[in-house]
């Protein structure tokens, strides 16, 4: 499976997989907003299915990376995660931002509908399987949610 940092980020902040995650500032996060992504205006009204997933973890980056690989492989999907970024949000928190290789709407529409649906399902299941490393604030009853989801699938 290819796990590559976003190619568009062609500046000095690119790192290889083994290096430390990016230490970021508030604006690195702010620019991720959909409201600042004006390229969506040029989508000619197609269904822009945003395959974007973000989560926060307190585990070290290497653990997160290997978990993501293991989960994806166990799900039998080899090529769907093309781009991800790991940010050092704070001393103990990292944030993972995964984006489907966006390309243009034209390319996306060439993918048969069944495959598009399975990509969507992939992202949903992927995050469910990563519940162990995804951090939730103490107030949320995340644990009971996990149990429910897992038993549903069995």
């Amino acid at each position: 499976m290819e796990l590559v940092f976003l190619e568009e980020r062609a500046d000095e902040q690119c790192r290889d997989e083994d290096a430390d995650p990016l230490i970021l500032n508030a604006f690195d996060l702010i620019i991720l907003s959909q409201g600042l992504n004006l390229s969506a205006m040029f989508d000619r009204g197609q269904d822009s299915v945003k395959h974007q997933t973000r989560f926060v973890s307190t585990k070290p980056a290497k653990v997160v990376l290997s978990s993501m690989e293991v989960v994806a492989q166990s799900m039998g999907f080899k090529t769907h995660i093309r781009n991800y970024k790991i940010f050092q949000v704070a001393p103990t928190f990292i944030m993972v931002d995964i984006q489907k290789d966006a390309g243009d709407a034209g390319e996306y529409l060439k993918i048969p509908v069944f495959e598009r649906l399975s990509m969507l399902q992939f992202y949903k299941n992927f995050c469910n399987n990563l519940e162990d490393i995804i951090w939730r604030p103490p107030t949320e009853s995340a644990k009971s949610r996990i149990t429910k989801t897992k038993s549903k699938r069995r």
């Binding site: 500032n25 508030a26 604006f27 996060l29 702010i30 991720l32 600042l36 390229s39 822009s48 604030p137």
Partner: protein, 213 residues
């Protein structure tokens, strides 16, 4: 040409001559015409009044006309140069000009500064950055501990607020984004280079249509 322009101005208030707009921006005349095609589809999507309303802007960005978003609101306000609550074609072209790959970096930096200066005081204050950060986390359905948010803000201001007055002024912002150029990537739309192929405007045909009506 005169006939076409007067019809266009009736149907599209604030419509300006493509040649004029091209001379004031980095766009060629055919690119302005292509932008007009895009403008027509956005401005007619909810109410066909030839102007882009906030709802139509939200529809174009999120495919959901009811979706409220702090950052989209800021962009809308900046595009709505005359503060009329709507974006006309001239506003549209001149604002998108800043996002052109060939637009001067300085214009992009100034635009982004105004964007983040939520209350227009001429400074980006810590409280504003906090508000924007929280908005982003909300949007992403992510939560961070309060202390973590403060750590991020501390780090940001340590980097950006050189004179330690608790706010980022324009020159500090210029300095900051020069050291962190990835922050400006939202200010460039590569799509604007291929606009004539994405939104072909068959000028000859549209002139014939206008005159016929």
């Amino acid at each position: 040409m005169g006939c076409f322009q007067s019809v266009a101005r009736k149907q599209f208030p604030g419509h300006e001559d493509p040649v004029m707009l091209a001379s004031q921006t980095a766009f060629s005349v055919s690119e302005v015409e292509a932008l007009f095609e895009l403008y027509k589809s956005i401005s007619g999507s909810v109410i066909d009044d030839g102007l882009i309303s906030k709802e139509e802007f939200q529809l174009a960005l999120f495919k959901n006309r009811k979706k409220e978003n702090l950052f989209a609101n800021r962009i809308f306000d900046l595009f709505d140069v005359k503060r009329k609550g709507v974006i006309d074609f001239g506003d549209f072209v001149r604002s998108l000009n800043v996002f052109h790959p060939n637009a001067p970096q300085e214009d992009k930096i100034n635009f982004s500064f105004t964007l983040y200066d939520l209350d227009g005081t001429g400074y980006i204050e810590r409280q504003e950055v906090k508000q924007m950060l929280i908005a982003l986390l909300c949007e992403s359905e992510m939560k961070l501990a309060d202390e973590t948010i403060e750590v991020i803000l501390d780090k940001t201001f340590l980097d950006a607020d050189v004179n330690r007055d608790g706010k980022i002024d324009k020159s500090e912002w210029h300095n900051f984004v020069s050291r962190n150029p990835s922050l400006l990537k939202i200010m460039t739309l590569p799509y604007l280079r291929d606009i004539t192929t994405t939104f072909p405007s068959f000028v000859f045909n549209s002139e014939v249509d206008e005159i016929a009506t």
